[in-house]
Symmetry: C2
Subunit: 244 residues, 2 copies
């Protein structure tokens, strides 16, 4: 089986003047999370799509799902988002464990605020997680990166050729992620937050797949401007395609 | 004295369907390089603004400067862009050496395709290069970064807390950059391309200043969408300011 998961447990927003968590902000008239849900559901091989949401916003999400025609979508399963990201992941895994029939089932975990993930990335994640047990979408670092000392002087020049930006989704065989989570110590649970780091710390090798520079995470007002630019360009291209 | 420099020597473009080097592409009706020139000239303390341009595009640039009212601007000095970035830098330094009166003069080197640099960044670059001899604008890494091995598996997790994205401008005391360039071996000249790396290799400490996530380098079609988004948001904010 193939499980999708959207982590939308956050309640904060660095975009204060919107008054709602960032995943609910409208991007050109449609909430970001709805765009992400639509993108994931466009991949038909997902058997279920889990959404981890803070209890305070469960009704809000349900209303949105109704408004956008997902009220009877039996693939969607809403679970409670925990205080920390890792708690949301744990709740998703708990929900999946009731449905999963094999440790080789895969879970594709995506961020609610990355609506521009492509179908290709999602399908490649499914394939690669099935083959290697764990994978994550990355893109080659474009900028020159510097390591800074505590006084703001450059202390190191990482080799850009081997340096990549991590994106989402993170994808795993259910058995891999479950085992990694189950063997975390309390200390590890506090200090390691990313699922990729968790599985790596437990000795699993993480394969990478090609992400996309458009697959941005929308967390600031600036990101929102960027997202509007990407969306307008996509819509222009689509209308060009239709015209052509 | 304070020298500005815009590196615009490139003739290629990853944005093939525009048919011109990327610095000349119009962003909302105005060429990117003109936007960058206008921003730099808005900092009055620059005594001169050098522009390094490939000889094939000198006339093109001059026409643009005329069209945008810079034909009689005595601050602007056009020099030949070399085959490699470092050759352009060398040509700028050669031009500056005829005008500079002190090794403590500073040069603020910016990319033609970063039109969103702020006046604050430029002024802070001048101040910091004067004080420390060398500085560069950086922003804290937002993404989780991974080191990949040759097979595409994750082999390392750099500490994000100390990791920063390099931007431009790179700024130096004229004496520092001249000395660093003069002592480069032929081998170093081939392998080290960034001025920050050059000066660091020659033992100079590089201070960092706060860049801005909006200060993007426009090199792909995707960047162009992003740039349009940023620009539209800026214009909205400006019109809001005027209305308010």
């Amino acid at each position: 089986m193939i499980f999708g998961a959207i982590l939308a447990g956050g309640t904060g927003s660095r975009m204060a003047n919107h008054g709602i968590p960032k995943q609910f902000i409208e991007l050109c008239g449609k909430p970001i999370i709805i765009r992400t849900i639509e993108k994931m559901l466009s991949v038909e091989s997902f058997d279920y799509l889990f959404i981890a949401i803070h209890p305070d916003y469960t009704d809000y999400l349900k209303d949105l799902l109704n408004n956008y025609g997902f009220e009877n979508n039996s693939k969607i399963k809403i679970v409670s988002g925990g205080k920390e990201r890792i708690d949301s992941i744990q709740n998703v895994i708990n929900g999946i464990s009731e449905l999963s029939t094999s440790d080789d089932d895969v879970i594709i975990m995506h961020d609610a605020v990355r609506p521009f993930v492509s179908v290709e990335i999602l399908e490649n994640s499914i394939k690669t997680a099935s083959e290697y047990g764990a994978c994550v979408a990355t893109v080659p670092a474009v900028d020159t990166m510097y390591v800074l000392d505590e006084n703001g002087f450059i202390s190191g020049f990482p080799d850009r050729k081997t340096l990549f930006n991590g994106q989402a989704p993170d994808s795993f065989k259910v058995g891999v992620l479950t085992n990694a989570l189950n063997t975390l110590t309390e200390e590890e649970r506090k200090t390691i937050t990313g699922t990729v780091q968790i599985c790596s710390a437990k000795g699993y090798k993480i394969k990478t797949i090609a992400g996309d520079y458009k697959n941005i995470k929308i967390t600031t007002e600036n990101d929102l401007s960027v997202a509007e630019g990407i969306l307008k360009k996509e819509e222009e291209n689509e209308s060009l395609c239709i015209k052509g």
